[in-house]
Symmetry: C2
Subunit: 324 residues, 2 copies
């Protein structure tokens, strides 16, 4: 099996030689812009990894890798409209730089392009690959809808939250790996396992994102710390805090989120103090650890050679050991 | 070959037994709502027609028929946001009834569902069917973008306009027929012909829509007459009028579209008078006739039995002989 850095280099060449510019430029310029925002391209890398793990032909996995990245970026483009997010990776989002109509239509075109790339995979595995891809696309939409629903609700349970991030984030990580494995014609039992591995890594990844948003290092995290608190986002940390908080802490949280005059720094500080008193950071780390351990167990059960399993383990570790 | 009414009845059963409701309802209710708005389901009917024409198994064409209808309705849902259209078929559009976010995300889900349905067709023809479908999806997006671009421009040529309606409307009509023919495993020469037939019918259909918007009977047309004039839409009629108008008529048109105090009825009346003096109705009918004749010629060249060709001809006639 190739090393992750070898796969990254193959991926870089794949994207460098792909061109998405066509006419009219109003439609295709935002696509090129989005793809060049400097995302880490984790999902297409997982497509290649899943394929390589089962000794598939990487050449044949390239269109599927591009498809997954196009799909992921399409969801970001539309999510940014829905969330009114002005910035992504430090640059203006498409709906801000152009307008909402452009963001809707360029997003739609990216989805169509994604399907078009997927149609180029080995015809023998296309039915399975396509059905895996479209099922996942639907689940990701469901996840985004639950996320929006939760914004309008006062109470969200931890299990509802975990299901939401599973749909919104984890299934696409699982799908990327499974897609690669499908292209390598791995048996269903193995594609199922690699999917679960990815799903658990995806859960851990998102929970860690929640954690770093409060307790991370701003420089390394690349986003402003405390953004979730300021937007009153119902993250694992906040929901857990409400679950565990005695009356006094509960009303402190309520006060923080209901006082319109509270300064941002003070709000972050006070909520963070509640988290500290309730040991929320440690509890979140345990939840992350649970998913991570489960992923490693599944990895150990994969019918792949030990060296390849090791590559996967190292990858998972790298992904989660962001001290930022 | 089945008659069109037999195919319509098969189609009705197909949609009646399909269910699109799932959780969360916020995501799926608008899909059911949109599909039940009472569209004529011309495109899925064309999928069955294209399949039946080449003696294909209609059972196997049903998922593709549903896919095309889902895709078409997804484009309507997103177009309505972009065009700020409050009504469709006399009922509130999704973004009005719910909100823009719901309309974006339900639309995305419909697109994903469309691809999911398409993934269920005969694996042998899936690669071709999917690539036909995704290419068309991209072209339809391009058409919508050109349409929006034209709104912001002062000058649009007739040929640019015709290319825009080809992309926005005609290619999906062509694709629906070709998809059916592909599923019936018709040879490429025939699927190419049936596509051109559909494309020409689609052009004629859209041009007739432009015509009826000004000269139709409101009761039968189902939309308010003069809507295109009131929104200053650059239709074939308006662009042709500008092309042919001598200085006096040209400034009459300019006056009509630049005077903010002009009452709607007066505006429609005065623009209509310019059209009448320039014989625009007749010229539009000739353009429609040109595409219709071309379609019938292609139909005559199809390698299908005369009876089946007749069904296709009658269908095209019915579609265009709306006196409304």
């Amino acid at each position: 099996m190739h090393s992750i850095s070898e796969l990254q280099s193959i991926l870089k060449n794949t994207f460098d030689s792909a061109s998405f510019s066509q006419n009219p430029p109003e439609l295709y310029d935002p696509i090129t812009y989005t793809l060049n925002l400097g995302g880490k391209r984790i999902r297409p890398l997982l497509v290649l990894t899943g394929c390589d793990l089962f000794h598939g032909n990487l050449e044949k996995a390239k269109p599927a890798a591009i498809a997954i990245e196009l799909f992921h970026n399409f969801t970001l483009l539309h999510d940014d409209i829905m969330d009114r997010a002005p910035l992504r990776r430090g640059k203006e989002t498409v709906y801000k730089k152009w307008n909402t109509n452009v963001a809707i239509l360029s997003g739609d075109t990216m989805f169509a392009l994604a399907c078009d790339y997927l149609s180029r995979v080995d015809p023998e595995v296309l039915p399975l690959a396509l059905s895996e891809f479209t099922k996942t696309a639907r689940l990701v939409c469901e996840g985004q809808q639950y996320d929006m629903n939760f914004e309008a609700r006062k109470l969200v349970s931890i299990s509802e939250y975990l299901e939401m991030i599973r749909l919104k984030t984890a299934v696409l990580i699982g799908c990327s790996l499974r897609l690669g494995a499908i292209l390598a014609k791995a048996p269903a039992t193995e594609t199922e396992k690699i999917y679960s591995f990815g799903e658990n890594i995806g859960m851990a990844f998102q929970l860690q994102d929640d954690l770093l948003d409060v307790f991370g290092d701003e420089q390394k995290f690349g986003k402003e710390i405390g953004g979730d608190i300021l937007s009153a986002k119902k993250t694992f940390l906040l929901l857990k805090a409400y679950e565990l908080a005695p009356e006094s802490e509960r009303s402190e949280l309520d006060d923080c989120f209901s006082d319109p005059d509270l300064l941002p720094e003070a709000k972050i500080e006070r909520v963070k103090n509640v988290y500290l008193s309730l040991n929320i950071s440690q509890i979140t780390k345990e939840e992350i650890g649970k998913h991570f351990t489960r992923a490693l167990q599944i990895c150990g059960n994969l019918n792949a050679d030990p060296e390849s399993r090791k590559v996967l383990e190292v990858f998972a570790n790298d992904l989660l050991k962001r001290d930022f």
